[in-house]
């Protein structure tokens, strides 16, 4: 099993994790645990949001960089970790039993 699969499994083991998506720099999903339409939607939108957040942080302080983005909503939390080439999106519903 590859390194990637291992990590995914590790994250998946946490309580309430409902989806993991790896997106490339262009917003194209590479690896997903969700169905296709949800994945496409998530990757397209979150990619844009992360890019915006990243540019905001960079604009505020050019030395700074975005490392992690957590979006808390009524139903679940979307965690995003941006990097140069990839974007990892994890969706967790912590209150769900």
């Amino acid at each position: 099993m590859s390194e990637v699969e291992e990590t995914i499994k590790r994250i998946q083991s946490h309580k309430g994790v409902s989806g993991i998506i790896i997106v490339n720099a262009d917003g194209i999903p590479i690896r997903t645990t969700l169905d296709n339409s949800t994945t496409v939607q998530y990757s397209g939108l979150i990619h844009q949001l992360a890019a915006k957040a990243k540019s905001t942080v960079r604009d505020l302080d050019p030395q700074n960089d975005l490392t992690f983005l957590r979006i808390r909503s009524k139903k679940h939390e979307i965690m995003v970790a941006p990097d140069k080439e990839y974007l990892l999106i994890v969706i967790q519903s912590p209150n769900e039993v």
């Binding site: 590859s2 990590t7 490392t67 990839y86």
Partner: protein, 977 residues
Amino acid sequence: MSDTEGKEVSDKEKEHSEEKEMDTAKSPKPRKTPPSSGKSSPKKPGSAKSGTMTPKSPAGSRGRATPKSKGKREEIKMETPAPEEEEDATLPDHCEPIFLSSKTQTIFSCVCDSDVTKENRFKIIPKAAILEDLHNRAGVCDFHPIKNKIIEYPGEEFLLVYDRDFKFGQNFYICFSEETKEKLLHPPKKEGEVVEGEGGVPGEEAEDTTVYKYVPPQSKEWVSHGSEKEIKEESVVEMRRRLKVSVRRKRKLFGAPCKFTDRNVGDAKDGYVECTSYKDKTFDLQKIELDKGIQAIPWFMDSGTQTEWKYPRNANTQYYPREFSQHEQQEILKKKQTGTFMDGVCPRFQLALQQNEIMDVFFNDWLNLGEADNTFGSKADNHLKEYQSFADLQFSKEKKITDIQWHPTIKGIVAVSVAEKLTFDERIDNASKVIMTPSLILIWSFTDPINPQLFLEAPDDIHSFQFCPSNPNIIAGGCQNGQLVLWDISAHADRLKQPRGGNRNKRATVLPGFEDPNALKTPIVRYCAVSSIENSHHAPITDIMWLPDHVEINRMGVPQENKGFESCQIFTCATDNCILVWDTRPTKGPQQQQQGAKPKDKDGTKNPIGVPDTFKHLDLTWKPMLKVHLHKSEPGGDHAPTKFSIAEKQGDRGALSKATDGGVPDKEASVTGGYFQSGKPGSGREKRTLQTVKTHFFVGTEDGEVVYVDWMPQKDQDTGKIQTPKPDFYHTMHDGPIMTVQRSPFFMDILLVVGGWNFTIWKEAVVIDKNNPSSAESLKTLNVAENDALKSGPILQSAPNPIRMTSGFWSPSRPGVFYISKVDGSVDVWDLLDKTHEPSITQSVSPSAITKIYPHAVSHKQHLLAVGDSSGTLHILEIPWSLRLPAPNEVTGVANYFEREVKRRGFVVQRWDFREHEKRELEAEAKKKAGIAPNVLLTDEEIEYRLKLEYQAYMEAEGNFLRELGITKEEEPLPQT
């Protein structure tokens, strides 16, 4: 200086100047106009400005007019220039007239008219000279007669005054006092002026600085101030050539004799020319003044733009997400970069995920704060507060409130029906009185606690009524005599809607003196339809209910979809053992008839009492479309219903979605399926049957029974007639007539039943209907034992209360709370989550028995409890927030509570079975002990023996009985077997 003074001064100066002129004998100047003219020409600016002296002044002319007074004044001033003016003057004090002979005159060099003149009257003579003369001439001396006075005279010089006119008798008078001398020599002020004026020498008088001096005007060089223009304008200049007129006449006509004759003026056309004045159009407008205005404004610019019209066009774009193929994905995932990225990112995720697992950081504590305070019985104010009370002296006093209904849409409107407080017998005895008094429903508004907003008139006392849920202007009421009545208050809806009392507004708009006396009166609305008395109930209608607007039932009692969503069917119940279903829509036949008859109506009498003809088609011919007769399961009368409750709820459209097509949907029906006038009741073919609507319903009876029955008529096995089936079950749990059967607003299957001295709470069991697939479905999940237990009795039964209960009502906002009213005028508030053995609050509300209560959520913040008592007063109480706001999980809590109670009920039933079984066992055992073992096979002998024993026991009993009656004697031997 005041005016009078000024005048005086001018007087004096004028006189003075006159005198001066006279003295100097100058010829009068041209400006010296006669006094009568009194004015100098204003055209002489030089003279006007020349000096302080105005030669003429109005005062001056007046002064002239009164020369006498002027003379007097002069005398006081001791001015004596004019001898004639001194005529009536008196001799000054300390003076002595004296005659001096011409010789003496020469001695003293005061010869008359040479040394002394009229003007220069004074002569100073030294005392020594006189004394010398006296000495020289002795008795001849003219001064001899006054010798003593001369010697006594203290001064050195005497003043001798020449009296030319012998005013005082002699030619001179002499002054003997220094004072007088001084006075005569220096008369105050004016004399100085005179002196000054005469001699040009300034006087010594310092007191008066105003010096009036005549300065003759000097002509100055003319300076133009623009007056020449005025003059020019004034002067007439010839602007145009003069007209020259030459009149000619023939030479021969000159001097010819004239002959005059009379002739009529009217005939003369040639003789004279009339030149009438006319208005010349050319000079119509004379512009003398011209008003012109100028205002600076910014430059104007007119410009326009127009957007180009673009035709809407259908256009679309479609895109698909960019995706990697399976192979590409694999490729990327295998890259080392991906692996490092994942490794680098993973810890952050784990941290975040764990954080979320450990604790919900975003849990809103505030929302759950204060939960503890909400529990019942805390210190918070939890009493019902009196909010308002309504009583009409004329119509509700000494009557009992039979029903209360809040207006479904308008806030602050509550309707109340009242009935006479009479028993049946009393009613019959006082029939005449009862008939005469109108039976009314009173509609109250919070804005006016004194006068009801509306009266609804009924043929007889109303015991129950309800607003139509889909149209609140329609009200159905059940009468004492069993008739069903309908009102339409559409015409008065505005009156109820007015925010402030309807009366006040009217008063404002009507002109004073033109008020309509009826404007302030509460209007009385007559019922617009009443059911046919033969087909109505035969007992007072005790409960009435509009069927929810999404359901209607056909003649067979089958619930169907109501496409118009207008409530049009009414359930009524009365103690004549039946429940009737009415339809407000006209049946096919009568409708056509009515349509035919309509034109006639319009020609003829129009509704005389102003009754809206909404339900004209029903009036007096209205028949129920379905009759549910409540048979008892066993013989011995029927159930007499007082209250009922069906499962369908207004506004709950759930049943529609599960509807199954009962037939082909008819287009027409869906279009016209409408209001009271349209639509056909019972024509069920095109309407969908609502399978999920329960046709079983709870009925509370007069005897305190709770009956659960299906209203759908079925074929009776015995008689083959189609009639209402026998009830599923009935239980007598109450020791008085049922007053309330009401479903909880939160749990459709939970019912509160109030009657007699206690209340019960029931849970509706699921009825297994083999024909109904949906109920069969639910059967799978159903606990059959529990379901049976529900049929066996209530899940909660209260202990009998010492005071009889009159009605009950669920709280509209709290699932565990309900209100119970009692005969002693108090209201009990029960909170099932607080305690179930006694009420949470008991509060006394009225001195008389409460007949009806109705809580209502006016707004989120205000819940009101309407309480009607048997003395006709409607009390409105405010429900405290503790009874208004549900606890956070109250619904679940109450649901759990009911669940537990259902289980308990199941256990009770189980125990019944158990006890029954036990009892049977015990009996069997007892029998065994008695030697009767039913299980053991008996031989013939044994049977014979047992029969013998039985016979013996029978005979013994018979003997005893006969003995008791005294038929047989004691000693009589028993017959031997």
